[in-house]
Structures are given as structure tokens and as C-alpha cells.
Amino acid sequence: MSSTLLTSVTVLVLAAFLGFELISRVPTLLHTPLMSGTNAIHGIVLVGAMLIAGSADSTLEQVLAFVAVVFATINVVGGFLVTDRMLEMFKRKPSEGGDA
């Protein structure tokens, strides 16, 4: 195993433990927003899609990379916006009471 790979595996293992620890006490109320928020975070594949798109040399690779960038961008942009819309609902104070 190369040292780069070992470093990557170290990062993976620690991130996995951290991921478990982070949300061990989450109220049911927040299950959907939390799922949606973490959903947006795995949109980090966008970084990978960008790197592929930036160095694609055959037409096939360009097509694959383009679709990957589109998909990943939808994941990131849509994911964070939808989560924000959900959480916006909780922020409003009952006393504000604006009629909708």
C-alpha cells in the first residue's frame, strides 16, 4: 500500500467514525432536513466532475464529464436550497403570524 493510499484510508476511517458520532442524538423533527442537508454535501462529487471535465480529451469523456457536472451541480444547488426552504419554516416565530 502506497503512503498516499494509506493517508486516504486514514481520512476515510476517521471521517466514518466522525459521521456516526455527529448525529447520534437527532430529534425526529430534523430527520428530513438532516437527510436533505447531507444529501447536498455528497454533491461534493461536483469537484470530481469538474476535474474530469477539465482534462477530458475524447468526445465520449467530454459527454460523460458534462453530464456528471450537470448532475452534481443539480445535487449541490438543489440540495442546499431545498434544505434551506425546509428549515426556513422552523425559524419563523409563532407571534409573527403573517397570513399566508
Binding site: F20, T28, I41, L51, V70, L81, K91
Partner: protein, 468 residues
């Protein structure tokens, strides 16, 4: 590249992004800080994406800029236009495209490296195939979940004989294809692997009933995280490894927590207990045809029951959400309170289509928080409640969950509305609910049925209470 940063500098920014993700997830798991948590995570994403532009490996920009423009337009439009009720399927859709992106990255890298046989480092090819496999399963599975929640596909479990054997065989075939693709490095095996994984994703989710969809989406969310992490191994990119793994791990735990809230184990959800039991007990759904009778009431009679009650508990469900009746319900509750009736809302953990979904909808209608009660807090109240008003909720009120061990929902915690003196159920028709199970509550002598669209019915109640 005019202004390229060194790989070390970019990796430092990835570390900053990773810290933002950790802090973001942490804050997302507490109500007071949740919204800021989402912002922190988004900032982390902006940092990672922004500094990737300065990576010296990038030769061309037009392709990614075009893709990002298209993706941003679609993402903004769909996130803004979607109704609150359709939120769950939108999450499924966003999750699916993320998985698809991971699979496409793997396919593109395979194509780039495979022609020079032997140039693919063995650990990279493993990660590549894993990313292609899991990403495709997540993509196809999420699309089916979307279809079911959007009601493009039937919400009921779709099962055929020998399905589990077929799935197991397909999965074995996928492993063989993975080994062939990894050893021969021939593109044809990868294409077959991708196609097989898509099929597997479809077959995995089709037999799962609509009521279990939240758990499935959460699981597929964790899958996409893992696919992103393995794409990080392919590209030797720390940002992908950290972000993907965090989601993979927290998503797995969230899936377990959600299952626990619904009293459903993951194995139970995945291997189609809902479908299997429904098939095994053919008498269960047909029973209502022979002899059981229910009582229908007019809006006027129901309004009188409500107006002269001391304690009313409103049980909102998905029917309320689809009919967008939350504002009318608020009006009804205000009207009753002005007459001195004590009104509370009972929120089942999985009311609506997902945990927390109903809280969002009621918050949108400005229903005061103190009136919302969790299941544990409201259940002791039902015996001294005069009227339980069930609006478009079904399975979460089904007493079969307590009393009928053969029922597919046996053991699921429910709201004990049947303990209230009177129950008024607002429902479109006598058709069974999302899980496809008959509800004996409707045949109880203390239950009155008011048929119609939830919003129309509540509006009729509001008018009738005013007149009462």
C-alpha cells in the same frame, strides 16, 4: 492556466471545506442551529468548488462552466418551484443525480485509463468499479423512489415470484462483471456492469411500499455518499473522500434512526416485509367487502360535535398535505379555540411522507409550536379527548399495529385515536392508505367518516362551525 495553485494549497482548502461539513452536520442536528448548519455546509462546498477552479490539472473550462450553468438553472428552478408536500421526492431526485455523477466520473476515468492496459493502479480500479456500481444503484433506486412518491408509479410494493432469488442472482452477476471489468480492463464489462447496476437499483426499490420510502431514500443517500467517497479514491481527492464518507456514515446512522422511529428494521424494509405479508394474508384486505359497516356524517353534524366538545385533538396526515389544507385547519382550530375548545395537534413521527414533514407544513401555516404534541406526549391524552379529528392520516392511526400480529404494520407505534370518545375521519374514500392496509378504526362504532378532499371538507367544517 494563468494562476494555478499548488496541490498542497488546494488540499488545505479541502480540509477547510471538510471542517465546514462537519460543523454543518453537527449544527443541522439541533433545531436551534439547523438553518445556520446548512449555510456553513454550503460555504464549505463553495470553498471546495471555488478552489478546484485553480487546480493546475485543468486544461479547459468551457465544458464545466456550461455544465454548471445548466445544473444551477435546473437546481434553482426545481428547488424553488417544488411544493412543500413534494419535498421528499425532490430529495430523492437530488440524491439520484449525485449518485449518477459518481458513476459517470468512474466511467470517464475508466475510459481514460483503460486503453493503456496495466496503467490502472489496482487500488484505483477497485474504487472505480465500486463507485460505478453503487452510484448507478443509487441513481436508479432514487428515480424509482421519486416515481413512487410522485405517484407516477404505484406506491404499493410491486412484487413477482422469485424476486429475491432474481435479485441475489443479479447481484452475484454484478460481482462477476466487476471482476471481469477489473481484470481485463475492457470497456464492455464496465458498460454491462453499469447497466446491471441500474437494473438492480430498480429491482431493489420496486418491491418496497411507499410508506417505507423515507428509509429507502435515506439509505440511498448513504450509498451516494459512499460512491462519492470512492470517486475520491479514484481521483485521489481528499474533499470527495471526507464529504462522501461523512454522508455515508451519518446517512447510515440516520437510516437506522428513521427505521427505529417507525419500528422497522432495515432488513425488514429492504426485503419487502410489507409486500410479502400482504401477499401471505390475502383475506386481510378483502375483509371490508363482506359485512363490516362504517358510519358517514355530514359536515354539519361533525361541526356540532367539534363545536360543543371540550377537548379536540387534530391528527394531520399526508391527505392534509396533498390537499394543502394546513391553512384551513388553522382557521378551524382558531374558530374552535374562540369557542373555548381546547385544541391540540398530534404529530406522529412519520406523519406526512417523512419524519418532520408535517411539522414543516404546520409551521408554514403558522400553527403555534406549543399546540404541536409528539406521539409520546399526546397518547395519554386520547382517553380524555372528546373528538379526535383525523385529517388524511391512515396507517399511523391503525389499531391493527397494536392488536393484529399478522398485520404488516404490527409493532409500529401509532396514535391511539381509537381511545377518544368520538373519532371523525376526513378521507377521500374508503380506499386503503399508502401502505395498502385496511384500517379497522373506520368500522369502529365511535368513528364517523366525512368523505371528500381534505381542504374542501375542512372548509365545510369551518362554515358549519361558524353557523353552529
Amino acid at each position: 492556466m494563468i494562476f494555478a495553485l499548488s496541490q498542497t494549497t488546494i488540499n488545505v482548502t479541502y480540509l477547510v471545506a471538510g471542517v465546514c461539513f462537519v460543523v454543518g452536520i453537527k449544527r443541522l442536528s439541533s433545531p436551534a442551529t439547523a438553518r445556520s448548519g446548512n449555510v456553513v455546509a454550503a460555504v464549505g462546498m463553495a470553498i471546495a468548488v471555488g478552489f478546484t477552479f485553480l487546480d493546475s490539472d485543468i486544461d479547459t473550462y468551457w465544458l464545466m462552466l456550461a455544465g454548471m450553468a445548466v445544473g444551477t438553472a435546473i437546481g434553482i428552478a426545481s428547488a424553488r418551484l417544488v411544493k412543500m408536500t413534494a419535498m421528499p421526492q425532490m430529495v430523492a431526485l437530488f440524491n439520484g443525480v449525485g449518485g449518477g455523477a459518481a458513476a459517470l466520473i468512474a466511467a470517464a476515468e475508466f475510459h481514460r485509463l483503460a486503453p493503456d492496459s496495466g496503467h490502472v493502479a489496482s487500488d484505483a480500479i477497485g474504487a472505480m468499479l465500486f463507485s460505478a456500481l453503487i452510484g448507478s444503484i443509487s441513481f436508479a433506486g432514487s428515480m424509482i423512489a421519486f416515481g413512487k412518491l410522485q405517484e407516477v408509479l404505484p406506491g404499493r410494493p410491486l412484487v413477482f415470484p422469485g424476486q429475491q432469488a432474481a435479485n441475489a442472482a443479479l447481484f452475484a452477476a454484478l460481482l462477476v462483471l466487476g471482476i471481469l471489468a477489473g481484470t481485463t480492463e475492457a470497456g464492455v464489462w464496465l458498460v454491462l456492469l453499469l447497466a446491471g447496476a441500474l437494473l438492480f437499483g430498480v429491482l431493489l426499490v420496486l418491491p418496497i411500499g411507499g410508506a417505507d420510502m423515507p428509509v429507502v431514500i435515506s439509505l440511498l443517500n448513504a450509498f451516494t455518499g459512499l460512491a462519492a467517497a470512492s470517486a475520491g479514491f479514484v481521483l485521489d481527492n481528499t474533499a470527495l473522500i471526507i464529504g462522501g464518507t461523512l454522508v455515508g456514515a451519518s446517512g447510515t446512522l440516520l437510516t437506522i434512526l428513521m427505521g427505529r422511529a417507525m419500528n422497522r428494521s432495515l432488513a425488514n424494509v429492504l426485503f419487502g416485509a410489507f409486500g410479502a405479508v400482504a401477499e401471505g394474508a390475502p383475506g386481510a384486505a378483502a375483509a371490508d367487502a363482506d359485512g363490516k359497516s362504517y358510519r358517514e356524517v355530514t359536515a354539519e353534524d361533525a361541526a356540532v360535535m367539534l363545536a360543543y366538545a371540550d377537548r379536540v385533538v387534530i391528527v394531520p396526515g399526508y391527505g392534509l398535505a396533498v390537499a394543502q389544507a394546513q391553512h384551513s385547519v388553522r382557521d378551524l382550530a382558531d374558530l374552535l379555540e374562540r369557542r373555548g375548545v381546547d385544541v391540540k395537534y398530534a404529530i406522529h413521527p412519520v406523519a406526512g411522507r417523512m419524519p418532520g414533514h408535517m411539522n414543516v407544513l404546520l409551521a408554514e401555516a403558522n400553527v403555534p409550536y406549543p399546540q404541536l404534541y409528539d406521539m409520546e406526549d399526546i397518547n395519554p391524552e386520547f382517553p380524555r379527548t372528546d373528538v379526535a379529528l383525523v385529517i388524511g392520516a391512515n396507517d399511523v392511526t391503525n389499531p391493527a399495529a397494536r392488536s393484529v400480529p399478522e398485520s404488516p404494520i404490527y409493532g409500529m407505534p401509532i396514535l391511539n385515536v381509537d381511545e377518544a370518545t368520538n373519532v371523525i375521519v376526513l378521507k377521500r374514500s374508503m380506499n386503503p392508505g399508502f401502505a395498502g392496509i385496511d384500517n379497522e378504526l373506520y368500522y369502529d362504532p365511535g368513528t364517523s367518516m366525512l368523505f371528500g378532499d381534505a381542504k374542501a371538507s375542512v372548509d365545510r367544517l369551518v362554515a358549519a362551525v361558524k353557523a353552529a
